[in-house]
């Protein structure tokens, strides 16, 4: 009895905030009105409660035996709630017995010309918070043990970088990719801007490093099937796709591919080259293993062939293999699923001109690449001749909100300059043209690179969008305009390279649903805050890296991957994760099991036991937003220290 009486008593501090509050709200009047209010033990004021002396005053009061809770009437709780709660904890009081009454943003600042009314309002605000405070519980933080393992989805340069950073800090990492090899898009590139480093040369050592890292488990040719659990304790089901080759036996010697009679266009070479039905993605693949493409394989189609079986000295071919589901447990997930290019067939006004010699930027990378289908020689796909007039078109599909994608794909300006320059290096007597709208070259040494392309390589930059393409014999006529001279321009090109827009890679929609993370209006994964939380998602424990979040170049991708890795490490550096205890809970007596709260929860924190017809809140996942509380007609869901009876008494105290 004595104890509860103590808990129901409250001390009040009124902060002047210099003149921010005190020049509008009459502090003395506030003190006078609160002095006799039921449950109020004392009312004190100070110029700056958040200052060192203010904090001392506050701690002193918390230590006193007379009050069960403290109300600080000051600025928004966003600013100093944590400050005061920490101070209370240091003084031995339960931090959740400290409440802030916001009399600055919600009172003095908005009513500075109505001082009397502002004073009345300040008193009301404080009274209502006193009422709430009197009914507060002494809560303690929720904590949960974490699994010190990480899953990185996508093994391009971004995923590889994140995985290396995490694994090198001593944490087991799974690196998953749906392709047979790691390496991603960067493995397809020829040379990189602005240094013209050979992409393969800088990437391959990284791939080997990843492949040999003892703490990294590669899960290539795999997809995320299902994700359950929550931060610190995710359970992920991974579909290991059937390669029809026993990878434990396969050494990647390539004898099978040599014997395979079936050739199909190679995805890796953007259909400019061909691969076999049993193939390894590219010569430097990690892991260096082969897979059978079931769609093309003659054995799967006709039941005959089996030449690969004969060819393999290790007996690794296994037509009976099936997809396997493997379950792993991880504490955090990094999503680095990268990008695809927008399909050029969607650009209708260019379609009449399409022939083999109109290709997209990635295809041109393959033509430039020394490991590509032409060993790095620029040859027309149609007839193998050297193109002498080559037109590069930027912003194809990008910056076209009316037909295609509204955003800037960000890297096309740079890689087009690189393409034009490399073309000029390969074909010194050729003439490259670039149709552009703006040149966006805001990276280190980028602008200099573009200027070099224009000045030294004599690449002709034409400012204007191309209206259409059409074929004329062996040529492709490019119909454009030079908006600077106002002239209409026609170029009879031997080859046209389209800098197609970047978009998130296929399947990102389903993956985002499985991970319960958001996508933006363009389908890219949403970061928690565009400025201050760029690698986090709104789902705790899931982080972003690379082009899955937005178009970016290799430099930025690697930086972001490092940032994501550091966020993961920060998260997993604690043995236990703590979590604010002001979560929702379900009163089972009242719960009728209608499930409306489940649908409201954006964090997947509520489960419905359909047999018992009871909802249950998972404390770790609950973010304390209160949506479920509002949705429940039975008032069966309550939020700790935000209970409905607390609200009633708050309202009651002011109306």
């Amino acid at each position: 009895m004595i104890k509860s009486a103590r808990l129901n008593s409250v001390g009040v501090f009124v902060c002047h905030c210099g003149i921010n509050i005190a020049s509008t709200v009459d502090i003395e009047e506030v003190k006078r009105q609160l002095a006799g209010y039921p449950g109020v033990e004392f009312v004190k004021d100070y110029q700056y409660m958040c200052s060192e002396p203010g904090q001392l005053l506050f701690k002193e009061a918390c230590r006193s035996e007379t009050v069960g809770g403290v109300v600080v009437a000051s600025c928004s709780p966003r600013l100093h709630e944590t400050t005061f709660r920490r101070a209370a904890a240091e003084a031995g009081m339960n931090p959740y017995r400290v409440e802030i009454a916001n009399i600055r943003e919600q009172c003095s600042w908005v009513h500075h010309d109505e001082k009397e009314k502002a004073t009345i309002k300040a008193v009301d605000i404080i009274k209502s918070v006193i009422e709430r405070s009197k009914r507060n519980e002494s809560l303690s933080s929720v904590s949960i043990k974490t699994v010190k393992k990480v899953l990185v989805v996508g093994a391009g340069i971004s995923g590889m970088q994140a995985a290396l950073n995490i694994a090198n800090s001593g944490i087991e990492t799974y690196l998953l990719d749906r392709e047979p090899s790691i390496g991603g898009r960067m493995a397809q590139l020829s040379e990189t801007f602005p240094t013209l480093d050979c992409s393969q040369c800088i990437l391959t050592p990284r791939m080997v490093e990843v492949g040999q890292n003892k703490r990294i488990t590669l899960m290539t040719y795999s997809e995320v099937e299902e994700v359950s659990g929550y931060v610190g304790n995710f359970k992920v089901k991974v579909r290991r796709k059937a390669a029809y080759v026993d990878w434990d036996k396969c050494t990647g010697c390539g004898l099978c591919s040599e014997k395979c009679p079936k050739k199909v266009p190679s995805e890796f070479d953007r259909s400019l080259g061909r691969r076999k039905a049993i193939y390894s993605q590219f010569p430097q693949a990690v892991p260096n293993k082969t897979v059978i493409d079931r769609e093309s394989c003659l054995y799967f189609k006709t039941g005959k062939c089996r030449l690969c079986v004969e060819a393999c000295p290790l007996g690794a071919i296994d037509f009976e293999q099936e997809d396997r589901i493997e379950e792993i447990e991880v504490g955090a997930i990094v999503v680095a699923t990268g990008y695809d290019l927008y399909e050029k067939e969607k650009i209708e006004e260019y379609r009449i001109g399409y022939c083999e010699d109109v290709i997209d930027g990635l295809a041109f990378e393959r033509l430039l690449s020394s490991s590509g289908p032409t060993q790095g020689r620029v040859l027309r796909p149609s007839d193998g001749t050297v193109p002498k007039e080559v037109v590069f078109i930027q912003c194809v599909g990008s910056r076209d909100p009316d037909h295609h994608l509204p955003y800037c794909s960000r890297i096309c300006c740079m890689y087009t300059a690189k393409h034009a320059m490399l073309y000029k290096h390969r074909v010194p007597d050729g003439q490259p043209y670039v149709f552009y709208m703006d040149i966006r070259s805001g990276g280190k040494n980028y602008e200099e690179f573009v200027q070099r392309t224009i000045e030294e390589e004599r690449v002709l930059y034409i400012r204007g969008r191309v209206a259409r393409l059409y074929r004329d014999g062996k040529k492709v006529v490019v119909v454009g305009a030079d908006t600077i001279s106002g002239k209409k321009i026609e170029i009879r090109a031997d080859m046209v390279v389209l800098a197609m827009a970047m978009r998130p890679s296929g399947g990102i929609g389903e993956l985002s649903k499985k991970l319960k993370i958001q996508v933006d209006q363009n389908g890219f994964l949403s970061e928690a805050h565009p400025k201050l939380r760029p690698v986090e998602t709104l789902t705790r424990g899931v982080f972003l890296a690379g082009c899955a979040q937005a178009p970016k170049d290799i430099t930025d991708t690697v930086s972001q991957a490092g940032a994501a890795a550091s966020m993961v490490l920060e998260l997993l550096s604690n043995e236990e994760l703590t979590h604010s205890p002001t979560t929702a809970w379900v009163d089972e007596e009242l719960c009728a099991g209608c499930g409306q709260c489940v649908a409201q929860c954006a964090y997947g924190a509520i489960e419905l036991d359909t047999r018992r017809k009871k909802a249950h809140v998972n404390d770790i996942l609950c973010q304390g937003c209160g949506a479920c509380v509002a949705a429940c007609p039975s008032a069966a869901v309550n939020q700790r220290n935000f209970s409905i009876s607390q609200y009633y008494s708050m309202i009651e105290s002011i109306v």
Binding site: E348, E349, R351, I352, R468, Y470, R471, D472, V477
Partner: protein, 295 residues
């Protein structure tokens, strides 16, 4: 016998009468009767593009009212310009309530109002595709022209703006190619099929229209077309009657006859002739004879 309401437009009664006549012959053979609206008025030829001009919408809406009075839901149009004007006027009335009310208020003497959704304006091509069926047209084909290559010219008004396009694509339409391929005629690659012929500028920008004709007909010729097929009396005029003047100034320019969709189709399904050949500047008869379409 199916019956369809039909609005010819002015030019189909004069210089474009081959279009109407051959369409009637074609439909007759396909078992469809084209029933001309009683009191249609000129569509106004070009859709007014200024937001406050309601006057220019009255003519097409009156014709749509006449169509509504027939009790049928469709109105067949052959001429590309009429199609564009009527179709856009219908769409305007349907989507802009304020203008709809104003138009109906203005025409208070009419027995009924037009609300935009009573009539579907259908171009010949869409009628053949959706109501008759290209397969059914193809089944009626009796003449197999030996290796007739045609350039299918869409022009502007069948395709733009995109909302009224007769094909899913305004930039790379294929509906005519689909139709004629099924009928045993080979469409040639024709990159100028959607490029404007110069339209009404033929009246006072003759040079521009000649230059357009040179490029468009030149492209058809270069790609081996024996004939250009059109759906608009104005395109027909600009491409056909300009050719002699282009030929006079451009060396090596090859003249190609221009015919309406229905003229060629009518011949294919067995009509004896394709109308009054005097209306053509470039006489199509030598090609038609060579390919065995006329005796």
């Amino acid at each position: 016998m199916e019956v369809v309401s039909y609005m010819p437009g002015c030019t189909l009664k004069t210089s474009g009468r081959n279009f109407e006549k051959s369409a009637i012959t074609l439909f007759d053979i396909l078992g469809v009767t084209m029933e001309e609206l009683d009191r249609w008025v000129c569509c106004g030829t070009t859709y007014s593009l200024s937001s406050d001009n309601i006057m220019n919408q009255l003519a097409p809406v009156r014709t749509l009212l006449r169509a509504k009075e027939t009790g049928r839901r469709e109105l067949l149009v052959l001429c590309s310009m009429c199609y564009n004007t009527l179709r856009r006027a219908q769409s305007l009335v349907l989507h802009d309530k304020e203008k709809r009310d104003k138009i109906n208020e203005f025409m208070y003497r009419e027995k009924t109002t037009f609300d935009g959704d009573e009539i579907r304006v259908v171009h010949l091509l869409n009628y053949l595709k959706d109501s008759v069926g290209f397969e059914r047209v193809a089944k009626r084909v009796v003449k197999k022209p030996s290796d007739l290559k045609i350039a299918l010219y869409y022009g502007c008004m069948l395709l733009r703006p995109h909302e009224v396009s007769v094909d899913e694509s305004s930039e790379d339409p294929t509906i005519m190619e689909e139709l004629f391929s099924l009928c045993g005629v080979t469409p040639v690659y024709f990159p100028f099929k959607t490029e404007c012929c110069g339209s009404y500028q033929t009246v006072n920008q003759r040079d521009m229209v000649l230059s357009r004709a040179e490029r468009i007909v030149g492209s058809a010729a270069k790609n081996g077309a024996d004939m250009i097929v059109v759906s608009c009396p104005l395109c027909c005029h600009n491409l056909d009657s300009s050719q002699q003047r282009v030929a006079d100034t451009v060396r090596g320019f090859r003249k190609i006859p221009v015919m309406y969709i229905s003229q060629l189709l009518a011949l294919l399904v067995g009509a004896d002739d394709a109308g009054d050949y005097r209306l053509h500047s470039v006489d199509p008869r030598p090609v038609l004879k060579e390919k065995g379409l006329i005796g």
